[in-house]
Point group: C2
Chain length 179, copies 2
DNA sequence: GACTACCTGTAGCAACTGCTACATTTCGTT
DNA sequence: AACGAAATGTAGCAGTTGCTACAGGTAGTC
């Protein structure tokens, strides 16, 4: 079945799928290789080192995330920032985003520790998200750029609360947004 | 120097200090033991297993965090929610909180993965923080509970942006808070 | 066919992982 | 002083970690 030659480009999707399901921090070469239909030997060959693998993987995941955002059904414009944030939270809570969010918090943790690759990936994903948020603000928003940032803070905060099992805190907070 | 008998209570502070500096996810028994002046053998003896250690450590860190919050100098009440959030962000950015925040994102990641111990620790820390936030809202706030939640979302979101190296995004977002 | 560049499997190494068996010391109690 | 429980040191085990040396295979080009 897996008889064609592999390359980083053919490996990355399978590796990303494995990482989305099992996490990135604890991923070691042999399980990753098995999931991608190769050997640890070949992963090192293609990516030079595990650091190289992780860096490539983070870039790939950031790209996947941007594309996933673009494909998420565009809601018709919301009337207020509050409503906008609530809709975006609902989208972020959709099951298809759950693996991304699990991975997202790992990436945030890595970035907080100062790792450059994690930080670059996180910044890329956040930039996509900010742009997407800005595009979904109410069309009459007085300051879309600042509004998108405020909404992003609130939505990300809510998603964090979700991760902690405190979803209601996020909902109550968003309900208190002006609008 | 370290000739007295050890117990979980005497070990936990040193273990927590090590974890605050070096992270929790990658902490293994031998380095932890060395930092606490013991052996891996004794860590297992006192905490039964590494899971037991981590659970105890997470509880301890949550307690430390509550106490650290109580000791953070209480600002005089802010005039608006926005000003309140901005002050709280400034406090969260103080150097003394940096190790806590690094660890915090690790805990969030662990909680997002569904680990019960991480989730409990995170919820405890978040509860402390919500109460503290509520106590620092403007005294004339119409709905302190909801307000504290909104401020928490915004401040946590800003701190996340800080972790990603996007501090300005947090600042711009907070500036757009009503008030 | 020969040459070359890329790709891959096998085997293994040194370090580290959590944990344990066994022996010994330390201490409070009697 | 004697006893039992709690605490500790030494040594090691089985499994995993990232990575490598070596030997081949596989393709395209001349």
């Amino acid at each position: 079945m897996e008889n064609s030659r592999q390359s980083p480009d053919t490996l990355l999707p399978k590796l990303a799928a494995h990482v989305l399901e099992h996490g990135l921090a604890g991923a070691s070469l042999r399980p990753l290789a098995k999931a991608a239909g190769t050997s640890d030997r070949m992963l090192i060959y293609h990516f030079k080192s595990k650091d190289g693998l992780v860096t490539a993987l983070l870039e790939h995941v950031a790209q996947m995330y941007s594309q996933a955002l673009e494909m998420a059904w565009p809601t018709e414009p919301a009337a207020t920032r509050r409503e906008c944030a609530q809709r975006l939270l609902a989208i972020g809570r959709a099951p298809m985003f759950a693996p991304f969010l699990r991975l997202w918090w790992e990436i945030v943790a890595g970035a907080a520790k100062g790792d450059a690759a994690y930080r670059a990936s996180a910044a890329a994903m956040m930039d996509s998200q900010l742009a997407w948020f800005e595009a979904h603000l109410p069309p009459d928003d007085p300051d879309p750029k600042a509004g998108a940032r405020l909404v992003a803070l609130a939505v990300e905060g809510s998603l964090m609360m979700d991760a902690l099992g405190l979803g209601e805190v996020g909902e109550a907070g968003l309900a208190a947004l002006e609008g």
